[in-house]
């Protein structure tokens, strides 16, 4: 018995070593972000509205019946770049008539409500993803992140990070226009 106990550390070290050996595979890039969700239907989800505001919640069904391409923006009140991006999104909606849906990611409803009251609310619908579960389904790598979903509810484009620079804005517009073209 005692022999087995004292042999345990060596055994654990060997097993760990096996994992490390596997991990050293030169083709493996631990920093790679999985490029999930492009050209796939939106994941099934149904999020309630953010408590304390009028805007309705967001579900996968809502995204399937839009009839035109929409933007889905993942945001949070604690996210500094979201604040900077907000102005751009608002202009998209007000000047260009783009339809914007929001997923409020891991955010306290009060904070989110304050944030929207403070900056304005350009979102048509906002789902409150309190525990981040839906964020996982969308395979987001951080906040903010924005998706273009076409008329049939298929994710066609993903932008990681804030849409601020003119190039980024052009990229998103181009993706929206491309999604409008009938197949």
């Amino acid at each position: 018995m005692k022999r087995m106990v004292v042999a345990l550390p060596a055994l654990v070290a060997l097993i760990l070593g096996g994992f490390f050996l596997w991990g050293l595979n030169p083709d493996r890039d631990p920093n790679a972000v999985p490029t999930a969700r492009i050209a796939k239907p939106v994941p099934e989800f149904d999020l309630p509205a953010v408590a304390g505001i009028e805007t309705p919640g967001l579900s996968a069904d809502n995204l399937r019946e839009t009839g035109e391409p929409v933007l889905v923006n993942v945001f949070a009140s604690w996210c500094v770049p979201c604040r900077a991006e907000h102005a751009v999104l608002t202009r998209f909606v007000e000047q260009d008539g783009i339809r914007l849906m929001g997923i409020n990611y891991q955010d306290k409803p009060e904070d989110a409500a304050d944030w929207l009251a403070d900056l304005g609310n350009p979102y048509e619908r906002i789902g409150s993803d309190l525990d981040g579960r839906v964020g996982v389904d969308w395979a987001i790598s951080g906040v903010p992140e924005t998706f273009v979903v076409d008329a049939n509810g298929v994710v066609v484009f993903r932008y990681v990070g804030p849409i601020i620079a003119p190039e980024a804005q052009a990229e998103v517009r181009a993706a929206l226009d491309a999604a409008k073209e009938p197949l």
């Binding site: 994992f19 050293l24 500094v80 601020i164």
Partner: protein, 663 residues
Amino acid sequence: MIPESGHFALVLALAVALVQSVLPILGARTGRALLMESARTTALLQMILVGIAFASLVRSFVVSDFTVRNVLENSHSLKPMIFKVAGSWGSHEGSLLLWTLILVVFGAGVALLGGNIPAALKARTLSVQAWISAGFLTFMLFTSNPFERVFPPPLDGQDLNPLLQDIGLAMHPPLLYFGYVGFSIVFSFAVAALIEGRVDPAWARWVRPWALAAWISLTAGIALGSWWAYYELGWGGWWFWDPVENVSFMPWLLGTALLHSAIVTEKRDTFKSWTILLAILTFSLSLLGTFIVRSGLLTSVHAFAVDPERGLYILGLLGVTIVGSLTLYAWRAPQLEPGGLFRPISREAGLLINNLLLATATATVLFGTLYPLFVEALADEKVSVGPPYFNTTFIPFMLPLVIMMGIGPFLSWKRADLPGVWQRLRWVLAIALGVGLVVWYLQTDGPLLAVISLAIAAWVFAASLREWALRIKMFDAPLPESLRRARNLPRAAHGMTLAHIGIAVLILGFVGSTAWKEERIIFAEPGTRVEIAGFEVVFEGIERVQGPNYIAQQGQLRVLKNGAELTWLRPERRSYPVAGSTTTESAIRTTLAGDLYVTIGEPAADKASGKWTVRILYEPFVTWIWIGAVMLILGGALSMSDRRLRVGVPKRARRGPAPQPAE
């Protein structure tokens, strides 16, 4: 010429290390004193040769010799001198050379200072140490030569990562390595003891100063790293549970367990097998840290350039060292004599609980750090393990540990008298509960865990002081008597009190800066005012500032309290044209009550032109984290200076007292 001589010195050092790997241990086996003594010369020679190599590299950096690839990639002629020097350990190759230098310095330290260690144990220890240095020297010479030349030499260097161009970070790796590598000596002692098949109190006492030295450096290294992250990364956090932080934290946790278990081996001749295992595992985790940082195995903010060949070599090195020593352990540990017995309520039992908690906490950190790798290997999915996991698994082990820390010193060896302990601690308990209630009353909206943690911190603080006061009979005896007792108290006892109080202070800092942090993020234009934690902060605008190798946009913020001007805070965004990157320089107003912490971000886009994103944080008590760390370091240093570690070492052979000449 200089780089070549450095390279040559490394080759010579390898040859010397190979000699030292064999001769002394052979001498110990066959009882030949000359062979055992050779370790003294070879250890010294190794130190000199690696020292020459390191000096050559530093010189190449100082004179900006861009024919050396390492200098070219990690330096620039415009860089301030101190960062040129620090650049020599900023890269993978350079830091490896520093690592090896510290390794051989510790080896030479044992050879020169370990006069009281028996010749055979010393010879075996130094041979084991030479195995490690031979491993790292071959690693360096075969895969990571720091002296490689480039032809044709370019005109100027490619700069050092500007984030790393900071005095705190320049000093961080050397201290951390001192800690990591310091545990190599403890490891060598443990392996030598296993080969010898003998562990006794004297062994524990010889090991103690080396373990303490390593632990002190590691504490300082971690504290410095966390301080750097706090003021340089601009997020206002001081610990992120990043893999690279974790791998330095795990040897610290286990090293702390080792320090405590070695006390039991020293005082009570028991816990032997466990102490040996801890010594092996602590160094194994240090090696693991070196491996993870250099292999690109995990995603992290600060890793070296990835090279699979290097990763493979160092994994092989790791395998031989760790699996080899643990196999030796599995083979020899059952033969170690069991030591003294103890009751379930005793100092031994208290330290056993301490060790179990620390070891379990280490295991949870290890598991969390490697979990993404496991999942990716077994399920081909990417996950990341963040602070929520570590906070929920780690803190539940730490709180009981800290409670035990208050009780432990009151327990006597072998069998403790619980009613007596209660007698002495009930006022301490009352104080702790009182502090908890007061905090609860003042901060009703804060998390409950924060209140509990502060009560526990008060508990440890008061209990440690009470124990110290009892030892010197403060208030029970006249003051001169107490002072005399304080003078006569072993320094290790003072050290323990100081370090335990340091933990209480650390907790105050942790809790204050996480639970009661205030944060404002604003879009500021000149004249914007913000209220935070009783301060009024006015954003007055941005100025351009020219630095030695960067251009900065400096925010001008006026801080007022009760309408009176207190100070100006000037956070910066620096762009380094050569490196082509930008960094954030936070501006901090530090007081013992809390830090006012300001950073500026990108100019806000579009509609908000002319506005800046300004982030203002108020972190109560955050400075106490570093004060607590300094107390830990001083406590360790006091304990290390205990004269019992230098003189009056018990004789190894168990014979009676030496006959005294009649007077």
